[in-house]
Symmetry: C2
Subunit: 317 residues, 2 copies
């Protein structure tokens, strides 16, 4: 693979301007946590129900016409899939998405409905990157990595530029749901003076462990179950680690119960539908695992959840 370029703050600013042409800013909503007023960035209100539309759009508009004609391939449990499918359809690019067979039904259905071709793999078991590499070998398509891509990182960072403009000042801190570290890296670049707290599911803290050890760490062979289907990377990647190390706070983990409580809080206090992975940052704040102050922005990153699972969560309140 050729050497990747490093994403930059200038790139994030350009991405933010480009993304503002096609979708309005997601709202920054006031909330109160343990008596402290702070803010929620409601990314589930994006057209595909997740922030992933940002990085996908910025990556795809930066392909050459010739690259666009060969199509794109993405690997995703669902939200990146929808983001890429949405952007590809809008640009008239062919998209193939490699998705785990056990992804939420709603994410599989919506990705197909957006016109993408879906290729399934077994999770755990099959190596999704190999499946993708095979597809790329066949077609010459471009891989749009879910988090280890400079344009994707810059695109995700546009959420930070928006939040800063909406708040009227640099946020004191971001609390971020973290899968492979794309959004976290993007926000780190977007707002260099903000503290960045990343939140991962217990046992799936591949970014937190990489930060602690200074090395890429792979998920355990038999990892614990998590309801956060969107936050299950096998490992982070060198590009993300390079941006995040010496920049962000130590990683924090949350349990399924903490995530469920955050989904219920979002329902009752914010009237927002949050999927488990999209509620992880809020869960950490509610559990007192990260500090909050009046300049804190909590990223709520997605709201694509199967109706039955969501109903069960809400009914338990």
């Amino acid at each position: 693979m050729t050497q990747q370029r490093m994403p930059t703050r200038e790139g994030v600013l350009e991405a933010a301007a480009k993304i503002a042409e096609i979708v309005p800013p997601t709202p920054l909503l006031p909330i109160e946590i343990h008596g402290v007023k702070c803010w929620v960035k409601a990314e589930m209100l994006q057209p595909v129900g997740a922030f992933k539309i940002r990085g996908a759009w910025w990556r795809l508009v930066n392909l050459t016409k010739e690259e666009q004609s060969r199509g794109v391939v993405a690997v995703s449990s669902g939200n990146h899939a929808q983001g890429v499918a949405w952007a590809a359809r809008r640009l008239g690019i062919s998209a193939t998405i490699v998705m785990p067979r056990n992804a939420p039904r709603v994410k599989l259905d919506t990705t197909r409905a957006l016109g993408a071709k879906v290729v399934l793999y077994e999770r755990p078991g099959e190596d999704r990157d190999e499946v993708a590499a095979r597809l790329i070998g066949d077609t010459g398509a471009t891989l749009v990595h879910a988090f280890a891509d400079p344009w994707v990182i810059e695109g995700q960072g546009s959420a930070g530029i928006e939040a800063e403009a909406q708040l009227g000042r640099t946020p004191s801190r971001f609390i971020v749901c973290c899968g492979g570290g794309g959004l976290t890296a993007g926000l780190s670049l977007a707002c260099p003076e903000s503290a960045i707290h990343l939140v991962e599911p217990v046992g799936w803290d591949m970014v937190g462990q990489a930060l602690a050890t200074g090395e890429i760490v792979r998920v355990a062979d038999v990892p614990p179950k998590t309801i956060c289907d969107a936050l299950q990377p096998d490992a982070t990647k060198p590009l993300n680690l390079a941006i995040l190390k010496d920049r962000v706070e130590p990683g924090v983990t949350v349990t399924d119960d903490e995530v469920l409580a955050a989904q219920r809080f979002a329902f009752a206090k914010l009237r927002l539908v949050a999927e488990p992975g999209g509620a992880a940052a809020l869960a950490a704040a509610l559990a007192g695992k990260v500090p909050v102050d009046e300049g804190t922005v909590i990223m709520m990153t997605g709201g694509n959840v199967d109706p039955q699972a969501y109903a069960a969560t809400i009914a338990e309140a």
Copy 2:
């Protein structure tokens, strides 16, 4: 009762400026209905989960200091209750709310949590206006009527001023969930060139019937059940009818099934929690009962719903 002043468009503009001081605009979100792109004004994202905060704030800040010291009384099934309680607490005014015993638990609890005194009455059966009149006779408090009050109407209309600014032009039409006709009257004044379509539950179309007959019509002695707890006025009032007649389109009614479908649509496509009454306008649009075009703004007015009821709705999808 002294002659009421007529609310005005100038009053709506003043109200909009005043309300903008305390709450950010609710988002205007793009959606697609039967292939037509249009807009949703997400009023469930207000701090109390409903648009009612607008009229309550504008009414309460226009009380004299002396009136403020005697407190306020409101009659409400829940959302107006929370709006008045929220505004009263913020202004240091004592608030007493007359609520039906069968109001959703979440609305009763939240109104009390906002510091208001709650007085219950039986619905159907007891005359809530008599209960309120007794309280006012005792204390000299000011009645903040849920819909037949010039300041309340002007305050609710501020949502139209916001939507127009967000859209960058006058909406071609508003589709509005309608109880007594406060928001509908406010929007009629706010955007004089927009068509106004009001939507009521079947059997509770007290505004639609008043428009059709030119007279105030009371609800049937044994009205049909409706899940739209927020849209059950006994009748509209002369002030509302005076503003709406010769101005708005004929009323439209929706069934419970249509409302449930709209709540599910809001969950799956918008990731927004809508209470039944807050989804009535969307229900009419989805059912093809009102026209939609690219300048259409659908008001989604509230998201305060008991978790068990909501879970049952979503699980049926």
